[in-house]
Symmetry: C2
Subunit: 336 residues, 2 copies
């Protein structure tokens, strides 16, 4: 936009080899998966897609700022992967089948090697989930990546945060807290880890969004949220939206062997309750649906753990050794 303005601002910058159009065309347009429901992809003022009859559209956006949402020295592939993963996790939380994404990318200069690796991480994960990158905007500025995603659900079947009822059982997928423990290792300077540290670091750098699990939970879960800000914080959002509360069985919280190897029991529990960025799903299942749920979850590629239940009293509570008390664990907030 604003030619003269742009020229004035960038008067001191040497000519660089790639134009915006070349960047989009070369790194993001060609290698992505194609979908028959995309009438027009990258290259026009907007993309055109077909939404199948009998489906709702599910839409989300996430923005990642370098130094704020990922470490300054995170490799480009992992940044690209992350920008896609965080949105896939939102789709998972809604039970939606991810379909199309757009990318808004601000970067200081069109570094071809960085862009190629960023695109590899982003498009690689998109391909795994059948998501077509249909549009984007690349601009000059601080390193900020924002992906917007749209997905599909049969009408009226999307999972939400606000349907949980007292008595519903609470579950969490996988091993929450591992990513936060992995990040802590990274921040202590560990770069080429082995053994449990390697797995923890990989959980931070390559979180697996639970898309298939979210889709399986349609018609089963009464409420669902993805754990991006920490289990306690996100469960807090769920119970607030549902107007109820939850009791967590502290001794039921899943602590993986890897986590137990790098943290003492108290620290490990803190990671599980307050760590973020695992992109696990936390959800409530009414008692009448438990059998059906267990049947479906048997085929899941990830673990799932019952961690408590929904209660009448608003707020979060913990049960330890039979005693119930308020849960004292704040979540992550981007401005606190």
């Amino acid at each position: 936009m604003a030619q003269s303005f742009g020229n004035i601002i960038r008067a001191g910058i040497a000519t660089v080899p790639l134009t915006e159009f070349e960047i989009i065309e070369r790194f993001f347009a060609a290698p992505g998966p194609q979908r028959s429901d995309v009438c027009l992809g990258i290259g026009d003022d907007a993309a055109i897609m077909q939404v199948p009859a009998g489906h709702d559209l599910v839409s989300c956006v996430d923005m990642l700022v370098r130094g704020q949402h990922f470490p300054e020295d995170m490799v480009a592939e992992d940044v690209g992967y992350r920008a896609m993963a965080v949105n896939l996790s939102d789709m998972a939380a809604m039970g939606a089948e991810p379909a199309w994404a757009t990318l808004a990318l601000s970067l200081p200069e069109p570094d071809e090697s960085w862009l190629a690796r960023f695109a590899e991480g982003l498009i690689g994960l998109a391909r795994e989930h059948g998501v077509a990158l249909v549009g984007g905007d690349t601009v000059k500025g601080p390193l900020v990546a924002s992906v917007q995603m749209a997905g599909l659900v049969p009408s009226g079947t999307a999972l939400r945060r606000d349907g949980a009822q007292p008595g519903d059982r609470l579950f969490v997928t996988g091993a929450p807290g591992e990513a936060a423990a992995g990040l802590a290792l990274w921040q202590r300077g560990l770069r080429v880890p082995q053994g449990p540290a390697a797995r923890l670091l990989r959980r931070f750098n390559r979180p697996q969004p639970r898309v298939a699990q979210g889709i399986d939970l349609r018609g089963i879960a009464s409420a669902c949220i993805d754990v991006s800000d920490g289990l306690a914080a996100d469960l807090g959002h769920l119970v607030q939206a549902s107007g109820i509360g939850a009791v967590i069985e502290l001794e039921s919280l899943p602590v993986s062997d890897e986590l137990a190897e790098v943290a003492d029991p108290m620290q490990a529990r803190r990671y599980v309750l307050s760590g973020g960025d695992d992109y696990e799903l936390c959800f409530a299942v009414p008692v009448r649906g438990l059998l059906d749920f267990e049947r479906r979850a048997r085929d899941w590629a990830c673990a799932v753990t019952e961690i408590g239940e929904i209660c009448d009293s608003p707020g979060l509570f913990a049960r330890v050794c039979g005693e119930i008390e308020p849960l004292e664990e704040g979540g992550f907030d981007h401005f606190r």
Copy 2:
């Protein structure tokens, strides 16, 4: 995301009054227009919308970086307005009816007064066009605003860049170049202008996306693009996508009285051809559709000018005093 990481990064920052959730709720959720096709808006992991049968979905994204796409000292209302306008202009270029938007906003601190004014500009324009803000992400970082928009067109009727044919007549709405002239005044320090300068500056700060005109051009225009990078540059994209060329009648280019007052004739023509940020539409109309087009354009609230025609030879050409020669005007590119 990443609680521990976030805490470490922001260790030096004093506690500030607003959380991410409060920001979204307070400034963006409440005041926006409501639409009956939004099943679930701001407040969950994603929004849920209903796409009417027989319609295609049109999707775009634009990212604005402070100091790059708008001046450092632009007032917050105008920044918010601009973030919405640039996407509405993309919808206009597609002939789409804008429907839903999401906002990804990175800002250095949750300045309540700035946020209130930014939201006023953004939501005010959204309201004018019946667009519901259905989701968003607010994060801490450099000032970067990205709006994503989705709109609707009856299936198969979206305007594209690639349908122009030799012989089609070329048109542009309004007065391209005024915004660039207004920006130049701003950069020379003009803050409280009067007379023509006031109109030019307003054209930069409050561009009018041609949404109604784009919708009117469905079934009429063979190709359409919005003029964000400059008339010559964007027409260049259109002819490239259509695989043809265009001849511009230089003496037909619209130069408004205001533009003529602040620039000499050569300079004025340069603004018209190379200025950006007016968000006018440039489009081609086949000769057989001209009568129908003129009938519709009679009711438009903005001017429209015939500026040339599509030709066989690839590239852009200018006709001056009967002579045809290649047009020498580069457009704005974000990385050059």
